[in-house]
Structure formats: structure tokens, C-alpha cells
């Protein structure tokens, strides 16, 4: 059952003299309970897609649905928590005001209690009554995240939620997202920071030039990131196996091989006197894969 369905979106922006084709047949689903990462370079159409889902931008053609409701219907956003990229809030109000305002927009009961709990979770309790114009960028992002959670949403849509955060802030956000996901919240977020996605996503969509070009689930990610293996073996004698083994310490050798060479190598070793001690996968980062895909 999909929480969000994006069906063949097209969008062209007109900027003074030139027209920019932002979306070119963007389609995908977000399934219940998953954390879906939306990965792509700047200008690939991530933000535009998210804005169409949030009805901030209207598509030229194609439709987006949230919970089977068209995104142009405001009711589709009732169970959605949203945080835009670089969120901006009325800066003359306090953090507490913002949470209470968000609560009232969703008609949340006992807003005060929930607001206090969220402020506590995001370590903002002491800034509750400070005006937002005095908040740092990281604090704004935290209060924005808190505001998106005030109504216990079923779906979280976050546009570059960790952009501009320091490593500690990132950790807090990631942990919070994992925790929310465990309690059943579906999360859809965009990012161009690959480690963030790699760490927490159950699925990744890669977009380029206004459409999704690849998608990976957790297993795919595991598979794709392993480009080869390192076989550690112990040899009783000094005899060369002709397998390009390197001695790493006395009697211990390592052999590096490509993914598809593994079986072949193992068989070769087993036919010799050497014994396999360990096999560890050689990982390359998602980033490299990402670049490979984009260059295809």
C-alpha cells in the first residue's frame, strides 16, 4: 500500500527568457513504513517534486497522491508533517508560538503538553520563549522538525532535512528519524548527502533530469557497494599460489578479488594447502556508485 504515489509528473518553469524543464515524467511510490531517500544532484527536480506533493507548485501534467487523495486537495496534507529546505518562520514569534501555531493548524488537542515534550526531545526547552530571529540555523532546523511532528503525522516529507547541520545535529536527526520510523512513520526525504541516505534509508531513488533513473532497496545497496572481496588465508609453506597473494604478517596472506571472481578464487585456495581464515567484502561508497550511475 503506497502512502505517496507520484505519477508521470511534468513541469516546465519559465524564467524570463529561458524555459527550464524541471520534471520530465517523474514517477514513484512511497510505501507504508519505509524510509525512502530521494537522491540526485542539484537541479534534478527533487525540490520541485516535493513541492508538487505539498501543492506549492502545480504540475503541468501528471498527478501526485497522498493517501490516495490528490495533492491539490488540502485534506491530503492532514496526516503529513513537512519541513521545507532551509525552513523560514515568522521571526518575531517564539519557538513555543511556532509549535502552538502548527498545532492549531492541525487542530491538535493538548498542544501545550506536546509542544513541551517536543522542545525537550530537540533540546530546545530553554529557548522556548526566545524569538526565532535569535535562533541559530541549526536551532531553526530543529524547531522546524519539531513543528512538523506536532500532530503525530503518518508521513514525514523532508526536503534536505540535514543540510546545514553539524555532525552532532545530523546524528540527532538520523536517530530521530529511525526512532519515528520504528514507531510506524513513513519518511520520504531528499538529500544530496549520500552517507545520510546510506545510513538510514530502506530504499533510495536516484533522480536525474526530472525523472527517477534507478532505485535500490537495502539489499541492493549492500550488493552494489561491494565491489570485491578480501580473502585472508594462512599458508603452512612458502609456496607461491600464483593468486597475487600478499603477505600481511607472518604466515597470513590476503588476496583481493572482484565480486565475480570469488568462487573461482575460493576453489583455487581449497585445492591448495592454504586455509581461508576470513572473507571480508570490499566496499566502495554509495557516492562512487551514484557518480557512476549519473555518468552512464
Amino acid at each position: 500500500m503506497e502512502m505517496i504515489k507520484v505519477d508521470n509528473l511534468h513541469k516546465t518553469f519559465k524564467l524570463k527568457l529561458k524555459t527550464i524543464k524541471a520534471l520530465n515524467g517523474m514517477s514513484f511510490d512511497v510505501k507504508r513504513g519505509e524510509i525512502l531517500g530521494f537522491l540526485g544532484p542539484n537541479g534534478a527536480g527533487k525540490s520541485t517534486t516535493i513541492k508538487i506533493i505539498m501543492d506549492l507548485v502545480r504540475a503541468d501534467s501528471g498527478t501526485a497522491f497522498i493517501n490516495s487523495l490528490k495533492s491539490t486537495n488540502p485534506d491530503s496534507r492532514l496526516r503529513v508533517g513537512f519541513m521545507p529546505e532551509n525552513p523560514q518562520y515568522y521571526d518575531t514569534i517564539t519557538g513555543m508560538d511556532l509549535l502552538k501555531f502548527a498545532a492549531s493548524m492541525f487542530s491538535v488537542k493538548d498542544a501545550g503538553k506536546k509542544a513541551h515534550k517536543l522542545l525537550d526531545e530537540f533540546e530546545l526547552t530553554e529557548f522556548a520563549d526566545v524569538k526565532l530571529r535569535k535562533y541559530s540555523k541549526g536551532m531553526i532546523q530543529r524547531i522546524g522538525f519539531a513543528a512538523a511532528l506536532i500532530h503525530d503525522p503518518d508521513i514525514l516529507i523532508l526536503d534536505e532535512p540535514m543540510g546545514g547541520l553539524d555532525p552532532v545535529g545530523r546524528m540527532i536527526f538520523k536517530n530521530k528519524m529511525k526512532e519515528l520510523n520504528k514507531s510506524g512513520v513513513t519518511i520520504f526525504f531528499s538529500s544530496h548527502i549520500i552517507p545520510d541516505i546510506e545510513d538510514i534509508c530502506s530504499r533510495v531513488l536516484i533522480v536525474k533530469q526530472g525523472k527517477t533513473i534507478k532505485q535500490f532497496d537495502r539489499v541492493d545497496i549492500q550488493y552494489l557497494t561491494t565491489y570485491g572481496f578480501n580473502i585472508i588465508l594462512r599458508k603452512e609453506d612458502e609456496k607461491n599460489l600464483n593468486l597475487n597473494e600478499n603477505e600481511i604478517s607472518k604466515g597470513l596472506y590476503s588476496i583481493k578479488c572482484k565480486k565475480d571472481e570469488l568462487i573461482e578464487k575460493i576453489e583455487a585456495i581449497e585445492n591448495s594447502s592454504a586455509k581461508i581464515v576470513d572473507i571480508e567484502p570490499l566496499k566502495k561508497s554509495l557516492e562512487d556508485i551514484f557518480i557512476e550511475i549519473l555518468n552512464d
Binding site: M54, L56, V57, D75, P84, Q88, T92, A102, M105
Partner: protein
């Protein structure tokens, strides 16, 4: 409702807004100003009170309108607000009502201040004219309606423009044209027959399209205690409602089509 509350809260803590609001203090100078008059202190104080109110409302309308519409879009406050489960119609109307609530409160404050000020000035020199408080109130109220209509224009221009200048200057242009339309129309219609039928028709068309702000001007009626016909008030109010309805629904239609990217 929450959006109205938030908008008002946000506005009244804004620095520019506070500066504008402090213009209310200028009321204190009206008795001094009217003292320059030879023989019409009371009339001058009424005219000046209404003019000051009009001036404050004009600035509030221009700045408030741009703060609420242009800056919200510019600073991307709209991203958050429109992502809540509300319609854009609801958004525009909430913003609009927040501002007219503020304009109304300011008008009432100004009216209260003028009551004091006019009493002081009138006590300095006995005028031959009575003070008709109902006329004065009607004049204040009509000014409020006038600027509400002008606010509608800011919303209309801000709903399709991304720049700061377009809505402000277009609105000022509408304000001036709307003030002048009646006078120019009268001049053309009463004036010489040299003008061709076509240009008279064109003048008529422009006169119909532009907002007729002179109909909201009751200052002379208030200051010189002239009788106000109820019919004029009713007609102007009906005109106000219809015109505002047209302007606002057009703004909503435009705003509904807009992309926030």
C-alpha cells in the same frame, strides 16, 4: 483563525509597523496646528484628524499589504503555511482579514484620539458650526472602507508579482487614479463638446473600471457639518462590497495558479 492570530502577532511586533503606529502620537499636535487658524479651529482640527487617519491608514495599507503578502512569499514563510491542510483561498482571506482587523482597530484608536483633540480645539474658539459626531464617525469609517479596498488591490498585485516594487507602485498608481477619476470624469463630461464621442466613451470606460475613491471622502461633510445623505452612504457601501468582492476573488484566482518555487 490561528493564521489570523499569527499574522497580527507577527505584524504588530514588526519594527516598521511600530514606527507607523507611533504616528498616532501626532494627534497630540493637532490642537497646536489648528491654533494657526484665524477663525476655524474646530473645522481645522476635524480636517486634520481625518487627514492624519487617512495618512496612517495609507501607510499601513501599503506596508502592511507588502509585509503580509510580498515578504511572506519572499522569505518563504508561505512554504510552511501553505503546507498545512489549508486552501490558498483560506490563506489569502486570513491574511486579508488580519490586516483589516488592524486597520479597523487603528481607525477606532484614531477616532478616539480625535474626539479629545477636536474637543480641545473647539473649546479654543467658538465655531459657528455644530460638531456632528455622527458625520465625523461616518468619515472615519468611510476612510477605513476606502483603505480596505486599496488593500484589496495590493493583494491582487502581490498575488501575481514576485517583486516588491510592482505591487507597491501599482497600488499607489491605482490610489491616485482612483482619487482623480471622479474629478476628471466630471471635467470631461461637463466640459466642451469638442471631445469626440469615442473619447467620451473611453473616459466613461476608465471611470467605470477604476475604483472611485472620491466617493469615500466625507471630510468636508464632517468638518463643515454638511448633511450626509443616507443614500450616498448606502450606495458607496454597496459599491465597496461589490468592488472588493471582484478584486479579492480575482486575487484568489490568480494566487491559486501560482507556483512557489
Amino acid at each position: 483563525m490561528a493564521l489570523i492570530k499569527l499574522t497580527i502577532k507577527h505584524l504588530i511586533f514588526d519594527r516598521i509597523f511600530l514606527v507607523l503606529a507611533s504616528f498616532v502620537l501626532l494627534f497630540a499636535f493637532i490642537p497646536v496646528f489648528s491654533y494657526f487658524s484665524m477663525r476655524q479651529l474646530q473645522e481645522i482640527s476635524i480636517t486634520t484628524s481625518l487627514t492624519l487617519n487617512s495618512f496612517i491608514l495609507l501607510l499601513m495599507t501599503l506596508f502592511g499589504g507588502t509585509l503580509v503578502m510580498w515578504r511572506d512569499i519572499e522569505r518563504k514563510y508561505t512554504y510552511t503555511v501553505l503546507s498545512y491542510p489549508i486552501t490558498r483561498t483560506n490563506f489569502i482571506l486570513s491574511k486579508f482579514f488580519s490586516l483589516i482587523i488592524i486597520l479597523f482597530v487603528i481607525t477606532i484608536i484614531n477616532f478616539a484620539a480625535s474626539i479629545v483633540v477636536i474637543h480641545i480645539s473647539a473649546s479654543l474658539y467658538k465655531s459657528t458650526l455644530p460638531i456632528l459626531w455622527l458625520n465625523i464617525f461616518a468619515a472615519f469609517f468611510m476612510e477605513f472602507l476606502k483603505y480596505t479596498l486599496l488593500l484589496g488591490f495590493i493583494f491582487l498585485f502581490a498575488s501575481f508579482s514576485t517583486s516588491f516594487f510592482t505591487p507597491v507602485f501599482s497600488t499607489i498608481a491605482v490610489f491616485i487614479a482612483g482619487n482623480a477619476s471622479q474629478g476628471i470624469y466630471d471635467y470631461i463630461m461637463k466640459g466642451s463638446n469638442e471631445l469626440s464621442h469615442f473619447s467620451k466613451l473611453a473616459a466613461k470606460l476608465v471611470y467605470y473600471v477604476l475604483p472611485n475613491f472620491s466617493s469615500f471622502d466625507l471630510i468636508s461633510y464632517a468638518a463643515y457639518s454638511l448633511p450626509i445623505h443616507i443614500q450616498s452612504i448606502v450606495y458607496t457601501s454597496v459599491y465597496f462590497l461589490l468592488y472588493l468582492g471582484a478584486v479579492l476573488s480575482l486575487s484568489i484566482a490568480v494566487f491559486n495558479k501560482r507556483d512557489f518555487s
